[in-house]
């Protein structure tokens, strides 16, 4: 299989599972206990937290360990809105992940003021229209660092600064789930108050992620209970997951320069071959800043459902938009927000490259893809 779906999830990086294994086995203790096996688990957990914090320029106490991106997004949005602040509104962008958009819709159904700002044809949010939606009622602005479907990079530092100048008390959250492999993440440089990361997008295990919470940020927990994570997220700790997350973050951060150069080149070469093969192929995000991992491309006249099925039969794994519970593909809300028609969105496929993608594989995949598209038209 040639795996070109790294934006969905990735294989674990070498060393990650080995680092985790003891905490799924001998060192099985509950990190809240007083006995030795629990102390060892607790030590491993806090050491992991320290290393995790170090990779994003944060303090140890600012890291809330979660089950991953969806939980972190939920905690950021609901936690900010349900805190004691009189501000109750949320502003976000139409191309966000469902974990943000559906949470915003949940808050809207509870009568809270919400606003969803559109994007231009390149997927970029206009800072002016974003600011127009932010007012004295706004508790939080949520805007993703890199879009999962298109790889579009938002100009986060500029947007954060503009929001803070406009309404200094507004919290800013970013879903950085797609960014960690390629973008240096420094919470102070970005200026955000809340930031979501999940390990399995860059070689960690599934079910282990974090929410960065800037010191002093008011946050009501979503999961109430035993008071773990300084009361911000109750539940027995997944120590193995935390240790794996730390290992994956350090490995990915150390590999970032190579990743950007090598994987970016593999992606570019793949894209060049496909664009050269068809006069009418459309790269859905050609002009502006885009992650070196992602390629979202439209083949006019070819239904993505069919193409993905045929690619799978030929041993190439790719995807399109999101899938419903049954596994049927649905029209991408991201591409629709960028102005594509539903039919155009149904002709679009995402290829995403990752830490173990190779040039040879990408070459072979491009040949298979070109052959299939020719056959299907």
């Amino acid at each position: 299989m040639i795996y070109l779906d790294h934006a969905a999830t990735t294989p674990m990086r070498p060393g990650v599972w080995d680092a985790m294994r003891p905490y799924a086995d001998d060192v099985f203790g509950n990190s809240s206990g007083i006995h030795e096996v629990s102390r060892r688990a607790k030590n491993a957990l806090e050491e992991a937290r320290e290393r995790i914090a170090g990779t994003i320029g944060a303090k140890q106490g600012d890291i809330v360990l979660t089950s991953g991106g969806t939980e972190s997004d939920n905690l950021a949005l609901k936690g900010a809105v349900f805190s004691q602040s009189p501000r109750r509104g949320v502003v976000t962008v139409a191309t966000e992940h469902e974990a943000v958009l559906e949470t915003v819709d949940f808050l809207r159904r509870f009568g809270l003021p919400t606003a969803i700002v559109g994007v231009d044809h390149q997927g970029a949010v206009d800072p002016e229209s974003l600011l127009n939606a932010v007012d004295a009622n706004t508790a939080l602005v949520s805007i993703m660092t890199i879009n999962n479907e298109t790889g579009v990079i938002q100009d986060l530092p500029t947007i954060v600064e503009a929001v803070k100048r406009h309404e200094p008390e507004v919290l800013v959250h970013t879903d950085a789930v797609q960014a960690f492999s390629t973008e240096p993440i420094d919470v102070d440089a970005l200026g955000v108050d809340l930031l979501t990361i999940t390990g399995h997008k860059f070689g960690g295990s599934k079910g282990a992620g974090l929410l960065y919470v800037r010191e002093g940020t008011p946050l009501e927990p979503v999961l109430h209970g035993g008071g773990q994570e300084l009361g911000r997220r109750s539940g027995t700790h997944d120590v193995a997951g935390a240790v794996g997350l730390a290992a994956a973050m350090e490995t990915a951060a150390a590999d970032r320069a190579r990743f950007r150069a090598e994987i970016g080149e593999i992606r570019n070469e793949f894209e060049k071959r496909i664009v050269a093969a068809f006069a009418d192929v459309v790269v859905n995000t050609p002009d502006r800043a885009r992650s070196p991992q992602h390629l979202n491309v439209r083949f006019p006249g070819v239904r993505n459902e069919t193409l993905l099925l045929r690619l799978d039969r030929a041993g190439v794994a790719a995807s399109a938009g999101s899938a419903c519970q049954s596994g049927a593909s649905e029209v991408s809300h991201v591409l629709e927000a960028m102005g594509l028609t539903p039919d155009q969105a149904r002709e679009s496929v995402r290829f995403s490259f990752g830490w173990n993608s190779s040039a040879d594989e990408a070459l072979e995949a491009s040949d298979i893809l070109i052959g299939l598209v020719e056959e299907l038209r």
Binding site: R303, T306, L309, D312, R313, S326, G327, A328, E330
Partner: protein, 349 residues
């Protein structure tokens, strides 16, 4: 041969996939996502629920065949649900499961066989396809009580040529025994009876929700045109219906006719339900050539065929029939061989 198996999550299509695999064919399983409610919710009843797709996925995994869910919600809404609603609003009695077979499962899926790099479409219907060297023919399944050739009676020669029904040679009991022998999770699964997009509700409730504009009140009249009561809309009625008419008279009354133009529902006594013949529309000559003269005619999925004579698009029953309604499918047989299928355009006494 490369076979695309439409897997509903039931025992028949599970065994159909298994039999194709055993015969050495290259098999791909697909489930069609046909319907989600107004808010995107999945159906909870009928043949196409989320748990059905999950059963199909698990069976495919057990058979070690690739499996995909295909999005057919647009086609299903346009080709089946809208036609179902339109049919009832026009006073007809449509059969959405037949429309689904015809418009979605066969027409649309067969049309994409090349795209999916497959030679034949396989389903779990109880019917048999034969090739006699010159043409294809469709026959009743081996299990008379489970035969589904009626719902397939509008397949064309070119469609039959690319279709296989591997369980058609088996009785339902044999299908279940085969599934049990293979350890398939669907072996003892009950059959779905509801219309999938209506769910466990009464279909009249569904129609009220989706076509409220069709709720034009009108009169209930007797065969002589005298008003016997009022109703809230013709979508509440179907020809042959006896219960829920809202009129109290000594002798049982039945709906004998619906006149959508005036929202009139005509009631009568049982003998007035008698229909001597029908006009057919959209005839498909399943067996390849038009037929005329004596045929066996079946107008309900599980009804008995009755002798009739066909003259062009006019079908005359040898004995008068009850509860024959415009919109129903009429399948024409010669013994167990399907000659053709059509829609009943109108009936005559």
């Amino acid at each position: 041969m490369r076979a695309l198996v439409a897997m509903s999550g039931g025992v028949d299509s599970s065994v159909a996939a298994a039999l194709m695999r055993e015969a050495g064919h290259e098999v791909v399983g697909v489930t069609l996502k046909l319907w989600s409610g107004p808010n995107g919710e999945a159906p909870t009843a009928g043949c196409c629920t989320v748990s059905d797709a999950e059963d199909a996925r698990r069976v495919a995994a057990q058979l070690d065949i690739p499996y995909y869910v295909l999005d057919y919600t647009d086609e299903f809404r346009d080709g089946v649900v809208d036609r179902f609603v339109e049919g009832y609003v026009s006073g007809r009695t449509p059969n959405p499961c037949i429309e689904c077979n015809r418009m979605v499962k066969f027409d649309r899926l067969l049309g994409r066989l090349d795209e999916f790099d497959s030679d034949v479409l396989v389903t779990g219907h109880h019917a048999r396809v034969r090739f006699d060297g010159g043409s294809w023919s469709l026959h009743r399944g081996a299990d008379g009580a489970k035969d589904q050739s009626y719902v397939l009676s509008m397949l064309t020669q070119s469609e039959l040529a690319r279709t296989r029904f591997p369980v058609g040679d088996l009785t339902k009991a044999a299908v279940r025994a085969k599934a049990a022998a293979l350890g398939l999770r669907t072996a003892a699964k009950p059959e779905s009876m509801d219309i999938c997009f209506v769910g466990h509700r009464d279909y009249r409730g569904f129609l009220r929700d989706v076509a409220p504009e069709a709720l034009t009140p009108g009169p209930l009249v007797d065969a002589e045109g005298e008003e016997m009561g009022r109703h809230e809309g013709i979508i509440g009625f179907t020809v042959g219906q006896r219960r829920g008419l809202g009129v109290a008279v000594g002798e049982p009354r039945f709906v004998i006719r619906i006149e959508p133009a005036t929202s009139t529902v005509v009631l009568g006594r049982r003998h007035q339900l008698a229909v001597h013949g029908v006009h057919l529309a959209e005839i498909t000559w399943t067996a390849g050539a038009p037929v005329s003269g004596k045929v066996m005619a079946q107008y309900r999925a599980h009804g008995d065929p009755v002798p009739a004579a066909l003259h062009d698009e006019r079908l005359l029953f040898s004995e008068p029939q009850e509860a024959v309604a415009p919109g129903q499918t009429m399948a024409l047989y010669d013994a167990d061989r399907v000659l053709g299928g059509a829609l009943i355009a109108r009936t005559f006494a």
